[in-house]
Subunit: 131 residues, 2 copies
Amino acid sequence: MKVQACHKVESNAVEMEGAEGCRVRWLVGEADGAPNFAMRQFEIAPGGHTPRHSHPYEHEVYVLEGAGVVVDGDAERPLTAGDVVFVAPDDVHQFRNSGAQTMKFLCLIPNSAAGKKVTVAPECGVEQGSK
Amino acid sequence: MKVQACHKVESNAVEMEGAEGCRVRWLVGEADGAPNFAMRQFEIAPGGHTPRHSHPYEHEVYVLEGAGVVVDGDAERPLTAGDVVFVAPDDVHQFRNSGAQTMKFLCLIPNSAAGKKVTVAPECGVEQGSK
């Protein structure tokens, strides 16, 4: 059994194309012997966002702190602490912090995500108002 | 994509042998099309606990609110909000609320847990001081 305060887990900048102001901690994963899925915690700075992207595996997300939106295709859906999001495989999605505080959420993925193709989607649906 | 406030998800008493003061919400699962794993939220009343038990699948746990312990075999390890726990397959474990407030945590399991045998362990290691 592993028990750990998550703030003591190493935090790294998310370097993926399209990410801005994002950091990630891998709380539980294959390195711990987790056989099926991994738990990560993301922190997004005010104004920051994850890439607008899709991939052939799911996310299960729980919002811990802050406020923002999840971009669902070309729509924006508001998020606040205590909200849960299921992003199905191949859903185009993006998490954006629209608040003044850090937005913090858990995002879990299957171990089978490793090596799967991630497709970065253009931002125009959100940033040019072409919904 | 599913987005939902978790307090709006149905909460049910945990009826399993050895559980006391526990309620569960299934936030994401196979009913949502989740292909690999399920996210549940547990609430344990002050003095309450999950069964002391083991099973051949893992838990990935994140403590949201409150304070308690996780029984790890015959040892107790303190827990507070922001702690993460990886319970490996076949680890004997129990979550106990030792605080004055409701203890709330996420507990994720693989879909393959369905139908797997759960073994309830005796409480003597904790309650009779025979550590």
